[in-house]
């Protein structure tokens, strides 16, 4: 039985189901929660970049008004480091020793009656240090290098031979800077212990991981921990790990015997919950004079922390990007005295694609070829690394449809050849193939006698539209009106789900929902299939389809019975089924499961005297497989485009030499686009439902950002003739 209503590409553009709650301020974000007797915790950060704590004098803080407790490594007691996760090791357990690995590292937590008292007392914790020299530069020879950190380095053919056979070789190095996730909602943890059970409300993108990690940190059985995160104030990846402050809040609650809330301050959001790490990438591309790639060699070096890891596969993106017989991609990390980086929207992909797509543009210039034509000629019609057909790929359609929407044919090839009044005009393009990701996931579906349904899974809504698309999907799979379906997310008591990350949530949860609903429909049918009074008597699952709040026999709409009727006659108030879905391996599928594809077209305008640079237009054409909700999907791409403009033109967390202190750790100083920086943005979807999963979707949470920065950089070259090989591109570089 397939319960999809049809291979429609675009789902209804419904408004957010939780929209009214959010705009009315009634969505319970963790920052808004309060419990009787709740205390407030404020973390104290290290003011050196490397060394040891030689002494802590907390006496002034402890005797300050309202202070209940000051936790340091001297009194925190042992905590376990949580086990390895699918994204690598867990953060080190906090306050376990005197070693300082980075500026801003939590060295104490002050717990007081009020937030103001805790904040004030936090300034009274006097920490003395033994300084060591902090290692802060990627190129510092003292920095330990991790090679092939994720086992994803790729190799095919013979790159040296490919380069030797090339008519043209470009060899370029690109630099990217530290960027910060900084969702609007500062990360917040509220912890309380009730009858030996640790209850946590938290800003997380991964309730299931937090559940197991917190249990491990406190050596508790899983049933003694609950994580609740029904609403999270954005993430961009910041909520993908179980951060030390989460553990510290739970510890503070255990120590004081009262509920405790900890809200990271805005400056702490720059050091305590990850960031996109700076990197240096070298690209070699070889091509014949007619524009056929002969070699791709991509080497990436990114920053990581001393005592922690992060997942940032960067060069990897080049392995499957183009049809080219010879390719080698290699990732390296340098261990530095910095706060640990972490996935930020499009981790690895955003930066890796930036370098690749700039290099492709540079190759096009060297070849004297239209960069669109160069990309079309090297389109990877099969997966170049796996040698399998793609589950779906509309890259060519993205490029061609985008060119048409954008008016690429108006582009004159010469740099500095286009103007609008006094402004230099440049057109730039980047192609994107976003890495596929999907993980094992479970969901639970319930129909009730009143004709409503409740479906849930422990995935999280971070503003991405998850509630809305899962309500739509469940309604479709059960044949109910969307108004009759509610969806639960973000609680660890729900069936386990992977992270809201890697652009994999919708396909993962959606596939599990598909399975849960399939089972539920089967269970409902089983109640009546042997009942001669039922119009569905004698039906097998293959004979029925869902619709109008019940089941009907295919081809005979008169033989229909509602869920309410079926459950009522069976004397059941509700019926529940659980489903789980695991992605098949490519070899089993006989095809390479594809992530989303996209083409990004950008027009920039540059003031030739003042270097002022603005993005005037951006067109994104995306193959995201089946789009469950056109409005949510378009919003994802628009939001990603704005993030990409920030990455391209504005965003850089600047740090001090010597300490690594982030010197612009406020949203007044770390600048992101404002409305005046955001141009007209056009989004279109192409492609077909993807056959690699039962619901036909591909992840689109990150592809909106990826490709914008290189399209800008390429447009800046076209406008000015200046090739800027670092981000962000600021006006001083164009003077």
């Amino acid at each position: 039985m397939t319960t999809l209503s049809g291979p429609q590409l675009l789902g209804a553009a419904r408004d957010r189901v939780e929209g009214p709650l959010k705009v009315a301020g009634r969505a319970p974000y963790p920052n808004d929660l309060s419990y009787p007797g709740m205390l407030h915790a404020v973390a104290v950060g290290s003011t050196i970049g490397a060394g040891r704590i030689s002494g802590i004098d907390a006496s002034a803080a402890e005797s300050a008004p309202g202070v209940i407790s000051v936790l340091t490594h001297l009194n925190a007691g042992p905590l376990r480091r949580a086990p390895v996760t699918p994204l690598g090791v867990s953060p080190p357990a906090p306050l376990q020793d005197d070693v300082i690995h980075h500026y801003g590292q939590h060295v104490a937590v002050v717990v007081a009656q009020t937030f103001e008292e805790a904040t004030e007392a936090a300034t009274l914790v006097h920490v003395s240090y033994t300084h060591e020299e902090a290692i802060l530069d990627l190129d510092d020879p003292r920095a330990e290098r991790r090679t092939n950190p994720w086992g994803r380095d790729a190799q095919r053919g013979d790159v040296a031979q490919g380069l030797a056979a090339a008519d043209i070789v470009v060899d370029r190095t690109y630099l990217t800077r530290d960027n910060t996730n900084n969702p609007m909602g500062p990360l917040t943890t509220v912890a309380r212990w009730e009858d030996g059970v640790l209850l946590i409300n938290n800003s997380t993108q991964w309730a299931t991981l937090e559940h197991t990690s917190v249990a491990a940190a406190f050596d508790l059985p899983l049933e003694a921990v609950n994580i609740s995160a029904p609403y999270v104030g954005g993430g961009f990846g910041a909520g993908l790990r179980v951060w030390p402050h989460v553990v510290l809040t739970a510890l503070a609650s255990r120590t004081t015997g009262r509920p405790v809330k900890l809200v990271l301050t805005r400056p702490q959001m720059f050091t305590a919950c990850g960031h996109r790490p700076k990197g240096k990438q070298r690209l070699l591309l070889g091509a014949t004079s007619d524009g056929m790639l002969t070699a791709i060699d991509h080497e990436a070096l990114t920053a990581t922390a001393m005592d922690d890891d992060n997942f940032e596969p960067t060069a990897t993106v080049s392995a499957a990007a183009y049809a080219c017989p010879n390719a080698s991609t290699r990732d390296q990390q340098a261990r530095l005295n910095i706060p640990v980086p972490n996935s930020m929207r499009g981790p690895g992909a955003a930066t890796g694609n930036y370098a690749l797509e700039c290099a492709v543009d540079e190759l096009a210039v060297e070849l004297g070829m239209d960069p669109l034509e160069l990309r079309l000629r090297n389109d990877a019609t099969t997966h170049p690394q796996l040698g399998l057909p793609w589950s779906s790929r509309a890259m060519r359609e993205c490029l061609l449809h985008g060119a048409e929407l954008f008016g690429w044919s108006r582009r004159t090839p010469e740099a500095r050849s286009m103007r609008d009044g006094d402004m230099l005009v440049g057109y730039g393009l980047a192609a994107v193939g976003y890495p596929w990701f999907r993980a094992r996931c479970a969901a639970r579906a319930t129909v009730r006698q009143d004709g409503t349904a409740y479906v849930c899974s422990a995935g999280t809504e971070i503003g991405n539209g998850a509630y809305t698309v899962f309500v739509q999907l469940s309604a479709e799979l059960l044949g109910l009106d969307v108004e009759r379906v509610t969806f639960g997310l973000g609680d660890s008591s729900m069936p386990a789900a992977p992270q809201t990350g890697g652009s994999g949530l919708t396909s993962s949860v959606g596939s599990a929902v598909h399975e849960a609903c399939r089972r539920l429909v089967g269970d409902v049918l089983a109640l009546v299939a042997e009942d001669p009074d039922s119009p569905l008597y004698g039906c097998s699952p293959e004979d029925v389809e869902v619709g109008e709040g019940g089941l009907r026999r295919r081809g005979d709409p008169t033989r229909w019975e509602s869920y309410a009727g079926i459950l009522g006659r069976g004397g059941l108030s509700e019926l529940t089924a659980t489903g789980e879905s695991t992605p098949a391996k490519p070899q089993e599928l006989g095809m390479a499961p594809a992530g989303a594809f996209g083409a990004k077209y950008v027009e920039v305008q540059v003031d030739p005297d003042l270097g002022r640079l603005r993005v005037a237009r951006a067109v994104s054409v995306i193959d995201g497989g089946r789009i469950l909700n056109e409005k949510m999907a378009e919003s994802q791409i628009i939001g990603g485009t704005v993030g990409g403009i920030g990455m391209g033109l504005l965003e850089e967390a600047v740090s001090d030499a010597g300490t690594g202190r982030v010197a612009n750790a406020t949203l007044g100083d770390y600048i992101v686009p404002v409305n005046a920086d955001v141009p007209d943005m056009q989004v279109a979807f192409v492609g077909v439902p993807d056959p690699a999963n039962p619901i036909g979707t591909k992840g689109i949470g990150e592809i909106g950002l990826v490709g914008i920065a290189p399209a800008i950089a390429n447009a800046v070259y076209h406008a000015t003739g200046r090739r800027i090989r670092s981000l962000p591109i600021t006006l001083d570089m164009l003077l």
Partner: protein
Amino acid sequence: MIVVQPFEYVRAGAVAEAIGEAGAVGSAAYLAGGTTQLDLMKDGVLRPSRLIDITRLPLGGIEHHEDRLVVGSLTTMEELAADSVVGRRLPFVREALLRSASVQLRNMATIGGNLLQRTRCRYFRDRTVATCNKRAPGSGCGAITGAHRTSAVLGTSPSCIATHASDLAVTLISLDATVHVIGAEGSRAVPLTGFYRVPGEDPSVENDLRPGELITAIEVPLLPPEARSHYLKVRDRASYEFALASAAVAVTMRGTRIEAARVALGGVATVPWRAVEAEAVLTGAEASVALFRTAAHAAVAGADPRPQNAFKVELAQRTLMRSLRSVTGVSS
């Protein structure tokens, strides 16, 4: 963030009362719009033991005279920007106001407070940084060896390179505005050109105000009706951002000859920077791009750039040249 340190709050009903309250304790501060004061208190940079709320004092409103305005110090930025005489006779003042901050902030921020706003330098504003001569005299300057892309290149000293952030003050200093203040020892008038202090050895002293003195009004001469003026602000993002460089220019022309010129720079100096050398080059000369270039050179004479902000010397000149081309209409 929340104001953390306990402080006394006093709402003054009269100017004399405000001054009296200010003199009664050592670390009192006046509170007007609060858009700088409260931020800095929340960050623990300013820790006054007493805040004297002056927002109820009769210091608002704009007096219109034939040749000048007298702007009450509590006039908000939006109110001044909306003034029709400002729009007609001081258009670059209006431009400077409307390119500052956001409308929400401009509805709160006062003109007196704008003149006294503190630098955005993060070494000043982050109290976890040990070195800042402005915040902790004698402790050193973190910006000189640290992140200083946005720091000043003019009016600096080895003790401080913090940029003055005001746009409005750049135009007002070019107009020879006068600050009226009142204190325990009476009232006085200070020309804005003599109001600000470059950092020298003690960057904690930023202006000529004596302890407890209160700005009551700013007297702003009007430009001649035939004058043309322009405030050009160049910044990293398109809005809601401080200047990397700005130029306030007002000229009176006879044909292509510049009869009178007023020039000031913002975003590049430790104080609103009146460019008298540039004015001297321009005054009485035939407008030309070559002349503008000479004037721009003169405006940045003595600049002391550092590696990350060296571009500002060039950017300031280009900004000024563009502004001059714009007001004179001469582009060759």
